[in-house]
Every structure is written in C-alpha cells, then in structure tokens.
C-alpha cells in the first residue's frame, strides 16, 4: 500500500448546497481513495450518501451544486466541462444504481443497450461490442440469453449483475455502487458482494460502496466514512471504526448491527434444533 502515489479520487471539504436557498445539504466531506481500494459510506437514508456519489459523477440534481475540491485522477470534476465529465463517466467511473429494476430502458433488450453503450464509449464495431458484452455477462455468471431479454423479464438480482457486467466490460477504473444490496434477497446479496470483491482484486478497480447496511460494507471496505444528517461524523480505517467506534452515532450503528446478527443467528440456531 503506497500512499505516496496520487489517489484516484480525492475530495476536500466538499459541501453540497441548495443553489436557491444557499442551504448546505452535505457538509465538509474529505477523503482520498487509491487504486484497488474500497471506501464504504454508511449512514441512515437522507444523510447525503447518494449525493456525494452524484457530485463525484457530476450528476447532481439541477437545484443543487457542489463546492470544495473533487478530483478524479487528473481532472478537477467541479471545473470540468460537461463534455469532459461525460467522457470520464462509464470508462473512468462506472456506476451501479440503487434500483436495478428501473435502471434499464424497458423498450430495448439488454443486448441492445449493452452494445450501444460499449460502441459509443469504446468506439468498437458491432461484432466486437457484442463479444465484449457477452464476455461481461459470462464474468457475472449470467447466461447469454440475457442479451435477448428485456429488463422486465429479469429479476432485480440479475439486473444488478448486468450493471456489474457493464462496468466490467467498460473496464471502469472506479465503480460507484449505491446501495448495491438493498434491493436483493440474502442469497443474491452474498453473490453480488463476492462479485465486487473479485472486481477489485482482478481488475484493480477502486470501489465506493454506499449502504445503510453495515454488514455489506464490512465485507468489502478498507476505509469507512460515516454520515449523519449531512455531516461526516467519523472517517478512517474500516477495522478501527468497526472495533472502536468513537462517535455515538457510529456506536449506535455498530451496536444495532451486532444485535441484528445476534438475533438472526439465534433464530437460525433454533430452527436447526427444531428441524
């Protein structure tokens, strides 16, 4: 782990402000993320986690704007032209969205949408794009028939994996995953988390995982950012934060997480006994 190299993503004192009223919604967020590492952002819903990701992607809602410094590789995202930012999205920063069921255009097959995106972003011809899309799907263990399926014919978990496949095919250097496990059942959750781990190990991609589910983040993250009502209340090494939470809110989060798993384990154990 060489911390001397320039980080892939760097945020310094980032504030996200409502343009009309000047009211800040996210205050003073700073972090640095290196290649091959994973940052977890946790917090309750409405704490500003998603907005941080969208600010990084340059896709904040029209009523909001970001202040401070956001750098991706060499680019200053807050001063980059829309065209520059657009070129970085996809190949530079891939995204996994919160609701997989609505993330694809319902009128086109996934194959169409994949090849269309790949051809545009990587300047490929139709055959190459098709082959690359199939390769991406095989990486996430989806059958090739998915290429000819419409989004409504697939489950949320499969569509989630489709998004991962697209980031794999695009060879995104950073993957921003917003609540990647909320829409999934337990078995799919585990599966998806495994994919993320491989994505990181095999492709040397950096990962930002946003979640209110500490368990999911715990599996992946090297460092952690805890958000509460627009403020960053705790940041640092994941291990340290989990084992010795400083802020009362983090302590509460970690506490409930442990209580939940204890309850879950107990229920499982009792079931085993009765069965």
């Amino acid at each position: 782990m060489s911390c001397t190299e320039t980080p892939l993503v760097r945020m310094e004192h980032v504030r996200i402000v409502h343009t009309d009223s000047g009211r800040p919604i996210v205050n003073d967020v700073s972090f640095a993320l290196h290649r091959g590492h994973c940052l977890g952002i946790v917090g309750e819903s409405g704490s500003g986690k998603t907005l941080i990701c969208r600010a990084l992607l340059g896709l904040l809602p029209p009523a909001l704007h970001a202040e401070g410094v956001i750098r991706f590789e060499e680019t200053d995202m807050l001063r980059a032209s829309p065209e520059e930012a657009r070129r970085l999205r996809g190949t530079g920063m891939g995204s996994i969205l919160q609701q997989p069921m609505t993330a694809f255009d319902p009128l086109y097959t996934l194959g169409d949408q994949f090849t269309e995106t790949l051809r545009e972003k990587l300047q490929l011809n139709a055959a190459d794009a098709d082959a690359l899309a199939r390769f991406g799907l095989s990486q996430v263990k989806l059958p090739e028939t998915v290429m000819k399926s419409y989004p409504h014919q697939l489950s949320g978990g499969m569509l989630q994996r489709c998004m991962i496949a697209l980031t794999l095919a695009l060879r995104s250097r950073l993957v921003v995953a917003d609540e990647p496990t909320t829409a999934l059942d337990a078995a799919n959750q585990y599966e998806v988390l495994q994919r993320f781990r491989r994505l990181r190990e095999e492709h040397d991609a950096a990962l930002i995982v946003v979640s209110h589910d500490l368990g999911a983040v715990q599996m992946l993250a090297d460092s952690l950012l805890v958000m509460c009502r627009g403020h960053c209340v705790e940041a640092g090494d994941a291990e340290t934060v989990f084992n010795a939470p400083q802020h009362p809110y983090t302590q509460y989060l970690v506490g409930t997480r442990l209580a939940l798993t204890r309850g879950f384990r107990r229920a499982l154990g009792e079931n085993h006994v009765s069965a």
Binding site: L59, R86, R87, L88, F104, D105, P106, Y108, K121, L166
Partner: protein, 313 residues
C-alpha cells in the same frame, strides 16, 4: 404466438363493438321526430299527401318491422350499399367514396403536420425546460388549445388568401389549396399533442434509466433518443385518440374552405334532412375510429415488449 395472431384476436374482439355501432347509427335516425318518408317527399318539393306518404313508406320499406329493416340495412351496408340520397337519388356509397379521398388527404396532411410540430415542440420544451423558449412555447400551446379553429381559419384566409394573395381561399385545386385547411385543422391538435408529449418527456427525464444512461457517460443525443422513445410510447394512446378526432373534426374546416369532403357532405345533408347520408357518415366515422384505436394498440404492442407479452397471454 406472433403479432399476426394478436391482430386477429383483437379484430375478433371488435366484432361485437362494430355490431353495436352499426345498430346505433341505424337507430339514431329511427329516433328522429320527423318521418323519413315525409322528409324524402318534402326534399323533392312535393306535397306530402297521406297516400303519397304511404306509397313512399312502402317503397322505402318503412312499413316492415324494425328488426327486419335493421337487418336488411346491415346486410346492404356490409355489401357496400348505403341507400340512396333523398335529394337526387344518387347512391350514398358512391358520394361517400368520392368525398373520402379529399377528407383523408386533408386529415393525413394535418396529422403529419401535427406530429412534426408536436415532436419539435416537445424537444424544445425538454431541452430548454423552464427557460424562455419553453415558456414561450407553453404560452403558444395554451393559446392553441383555446383558439376557436374556425376563427383561426378565417384569420388565415384573410391574411394569406385575401391580404397577401398567396394561397387560394378554398376549394380543392392543387397542393397550394391544401395548406390553409391542413394548418387550420392541425392547430388545436398540435397544441394538445405537443403538451402531452412534452409533459411525458419531462417526466421520462426523471426516470432511473435516464440517470443510469447518463452515469454510463452516454452522449446527450443517445439519452434524448431513449427519453423520446419512451415518451412516444406512453403518449401513443393519446395520438390514437386524436387521429380519428382529427378526421371527425374536419367538418368545420371543410365548410370554411369549401373542401369537397365527407364533413361538408354531412353538414349539407343535415340542412337537407338527408338521413341516409348522415347515417352512413356516422357509421363510417365510428368504424374509422375503432380501426384507428386498433392500429394504435398494435403500434404500442410493436414498440413495447411488455405490452406485447400481455396481449399475447
């Protein structure tokens, strides 16, 4: 199953509706307070004596029971015989056939104009949402829904035909005579459809898949194309409703511009109390309306894979 069997099933489903429509167009004239036989005589400037009325009633088959008359009429209508005009005894079907092409030509031109203008307006609305071109356009659209079409037609005639002397005031005489009627007819529908399409596009813009396309770094044009396809899909039903309304609404425009079409034929027939023509007009329009709806459903099914599956289940 394929799209062909879907169409056949929908057509079969329409049969009862078509039957009901034919019954309605038959009954509507029977409900008229005036006796068709008497009207037929008066139209020909004869005095309706009781003997003459009885004679004409028999000739027209009015003395037979109601159901029998309906079945005879339906049978004839299916075979393309819609009766004779009271005024001059000409075949109604023949006159309708003669008047149909000008009406369809007018309606088709208007529909094309409507589509082109609405799509353009909707794109301007989405690209400049909330800024002055959008606001201006929304004002124009609002004006368009409120302006009486016949008044707009008169103003257009005055400006382009009388004042500037660029286009003919009316009648069917070459392509230039099509311009004013088509614009007049399209005006209210442009507003209605542009509004529908614009609202639909503004909403589609908020959808998750648009955000994902942007997050994948897709170009503006590609994102717009996806937005457009989806909004077109959701406003196709609205278009299906407005096309036959466009054909039906031709009657005012045809009268203003002395256009030799179906609407004018029907309005003249109303003045002459020429019942067979009115009857045939109602029947034709209703059938057109139903078929148009069917076409739109098929188009929706072709565009939207979800509907296609639901329709085939």
């Amino acid at each position: 199953m394929n799209i062909g069997s879907y169409i056949v099933r929908r057509l079969l489903g329409l049969l009862p509706l078509l039957l009901a429509i034919s019954f309605f167009s038959f009954v509507i004239i029977q409900l008229s307070p005036s006796d068709p036989a008497e009207v037929a005589i008066r139209v020909n400037a004869m005095t309706p004596t009781p003997e003459l009325i009885a004679e004409v009633r028999e000739e027209m088959g009015l003395d037979k029971p109601f159901l029998e008359r309906y079945l005879t009429w339906l049978n004839n209508a299916v075979h393309g015989d819609l009766g004779k005009r009271y005024v001059d005894g000409k075949s109604v079907a023949g006159e309708m056939l003669k008047a149909l092409p000008p009406t369809l030509m007018l309606a088709a031109t208007s529909a094309a104009l409507m589509l082109a203008c609405s799509i353009a307006a909707a794109f301007v609305g989405v690209l400049f949402e909330g800024r002055w071109p959008d606001l201006l356009l929304r004002g124009l659209i609002f004006l368009g829904t409120s302006v009486p079409a016949f008044w707009a037609g008169l103003l257009l005639i005055w400006l382009f035909a009388v004042h500037l002397d660029l286009l003919p005031t009316g009648g069917l005489s070459g392509p230039s005579s099509l311009v004013l009627p088509a614009v007049t007819l399209a005006l209210p529908y442009i507003s209605a459809y542009a509004r529908l399409l614009r609202n639909s596009m503004v909403q589609t813009k908020q959808q998750n898949f648009v955000l994902y396309a942007k997050a994948c770094g897709r170009s503006r044009g590609a994102v717009l194309r996806h937005i457009f396809r989806n909004s077109l899909q959701s406003s196709l039903t609205g278009l299906g409703m407005s096309l036959p309304k466009l054909v039906a609404g031709t009657f005012v425009v045809e009268c203003i511009f002395a256009w030799p079409g179906l609407g004018r034929l029907c309005v003249t027939a109303i003045f002459n109390r020429d019942f067979p023509v009115i009857q045939a007009y109602v029947l034709l329009m209703a059938v057109l309306f139903v078929l148009c709806n069917l076409c739109m459903d098929i188009c929706s099914a072709l565009v939207d894979p979800r509907l296609r599956e639901r329709g085939l289940q």
